[in-house]
Symmetry: C2
Subunit: 355 residues, 2 copies
């Protein structure tokens, strides 16, 4: 598995695990009173969050501590809220993408599809049952995210601002998901600018911008610090996603823990593909990208073309450009030097993954 350069082990990982454990323990106790099947759903939901790298809580707590925050318990709760939001978004995203597997394991929909298949249901019925249960599970995780904020020990003004930030994260992610759905139904690859917009909305806001802002708000930081961290997080998040898309094609499965064929097979709209589609090599690529039966040999051919035509370099340069932009936001005297250092480590980690 990929190690996680974004997560400083000293940032309260255990506290976040503890908060999530407590959340699910209470939910399971309540669910057990309703029915065994409801308890199973909550167990499946909990398992779907287990083993996550807690990137969002990690960067949130990093910002919090370096801005003078000392209530690690409160920060862990806000971090857990973002982890539950992340859980909700990926479950619903998987339903929308008809994905039943995530990182080599059945996701919630996959677990329920398998159960239905084992019970002798048709392939189509089992798929629908899996998706239906995924919709329900995502709703519970989304509700859990907002409820988690209610348990944070802080003043009501701060709590309200945290809720606004979480709301902004959902608002952006939903917009990004909508644009992504629109992409998947349009022929060809959209322009680079539109892909960057989509990735900013769908991932960068809730994964980087919002957690950093929430950490700063909880620490009582000034508005300009909150704004700077938001700008930094947005650009870092775009750089991160650009690298993620590169790793999705060029990464080693042993290092990333995920398939390097599925993005090519699905024809995922990325900057890499958008760039290639505008250039002279598209004739060699177009029959490979989005081909569900792509073989590993075909994939090697696609990778060679993407490299030869400059798409790989272009995406890598763009990631570095966004990382550099992210760093320039930190050139403000409002950002304490130790925080600047750790944020620079985070952005370096985001672009240098998988190298």
């Amino acid at each position: 598995m990929e190690t996680n350069p974004l997560l400083d082990p000293a940032t309260g990982h255990e506290q976040v695990e503890g908060v999530l454990k407590g959340f699910f323990e209470r939910a399971k106790l309540r669910a057990a009173k309703v029915s065994p099947s409801y308890l199973s759903l909550w167990e499946t939901l909990e398992q779907s969050t287990a083993g996550g790298k807690r990137v969002r809580p990690g960067i949130l707590m990093t910002a919090y501590r370096h801005l003078g925050g000392t209530d690690i318990g409160a920060a862990a709760r806000v971090g857990a809220a973002f982890e539950l939001l992340h859980t909700a978004l990926i479950i619903h995203d998987d339903v929308i993408d008809l994905d039943f597997v995530r990182r080599g394991h059945d996701n919630v929909s996959g677990v329920y599809r398998s159960l239905a298949e084992t019970a002798g249901q048709t392939r189509e019925a089992a798929r629908h049952r899996g998706m239906s249960t995924g919709i329900i599970a995502g709703d519970l995780a989304l509700t859990g995210a907002f409820r988690m904020l209610d348990t944070v020990d802080t003043d009501s003004r701060t709590r309200l601002r945290l809720a606004e930030i979480l709301d902004e994260a959902v608002f952006a992610s939903a917009a990004g998901e909508l644009i992504d759905v629109d992409f998947s139904f349009s022929p060809g690859a959209p322009p680079v600018r539109e892909i960057l917009d989509m990735e900013r909305l769908k991932t960068a806001v809730y994964s980087f911008e919002a957690p950093l802002q929430a950490g700063a708000v909880l620490a009582g930081a000034d508005d300009d610090v909150v704004a700077i961290l938001g700008d930094f997080g947005r650009d870092t998040g775009i750089a991160y996603q650009l690298v993620d898309d590169l790793l999705g094609v060029f990464g080693k499965e042993s290092a990333t823990g995920k398939s390097n064929l599925s993005d090519l097979r699905e024809g995922k709209r990325t900057v890499l593909i958008s760039h290639a589609s505008q250039g002279p090599c598209w004739g060699e690529l177009s029959h490979l990208i989005g081909n569900p039966d792509l073989t590993p040999e075909d994939a090697d051919r696609a990778r060679a073309v993407l490299t030869r035509c400059g798409a790989r370099d272009y995406a890598q340069s763009l990631a570095e450009e966004f990382a550099a932009r992210a760093r320039t936001h930190l050139d403000s005297p409002a950002i304490p030097a130790p925080l600047r250092l750790v944020l620079e480590r985070i952005v370096a980690g985001a672009v240098n993954r998988g190298r």
Copy 2:
């Protein structure tokens, strides 16, 4: 259209409309800054809530006013939170049920399916696009419900209790939805007791129990009053749902505004069908119930059998039994006489609809 005996026009209907209008205005302003397509999604979401009877805000505000509450603006906001929850739940329920029409109009998924079909996409792709957009829209409405509570002008302890009640409503509805999904994949009709449990969880809690409790909590009522209203709401909600299922088969479309064929065609698991499936008439019915090609003449035959075999009377008696049980909860000196009167009107309205 059915008139709504549950909603006293004096209970702040206009205030609720005003709150919802403000909520969507703000969301649309934000969405317009993202993209025209995101603005369209918010417009579609708003349209999907328009013309609703606002049953949940209505009973919430009825309880609130009769328990001495005077801040109609605050109550309207809590009511609007329940209306947004209702919106979220029916959008996701429709996705799960593969329904693209509600009350004669395209629902959110239906609107986006139609757009995709017009754009020349395949039937299957258009269906998937509609469902995907429905999932996103439901997430936005669910988020809106919790965020709406943040705007209620009340003390933090009351706000927390309101959030707990809303959370309990989501928790129950998700359990009910899960059980309903399980039903739809099981052969035959489940026992009456299990159907009642499912309907209590899926509908009665969020539609009656929770709004009444929220109205009482906001009014500062004692815990025993909150508990009594919860018990009353639960039993009223079950009675309401039993009658709803009766109207789904025996109602006049001109009076109810909804098809009296679709429940039969879909083979919806109701007390009516469960009772019939246990009796000697099932042989005459089993080929009609759940037959997607059921003709109006077949439906008349099914209705005649359901009536002759006592299923209709059984369901009607059960509805009256739950209504009577609901009324007995009101026999407490803790319930002010004027509130008792109006709640008795509500439960009478719930069982006498469509007569």
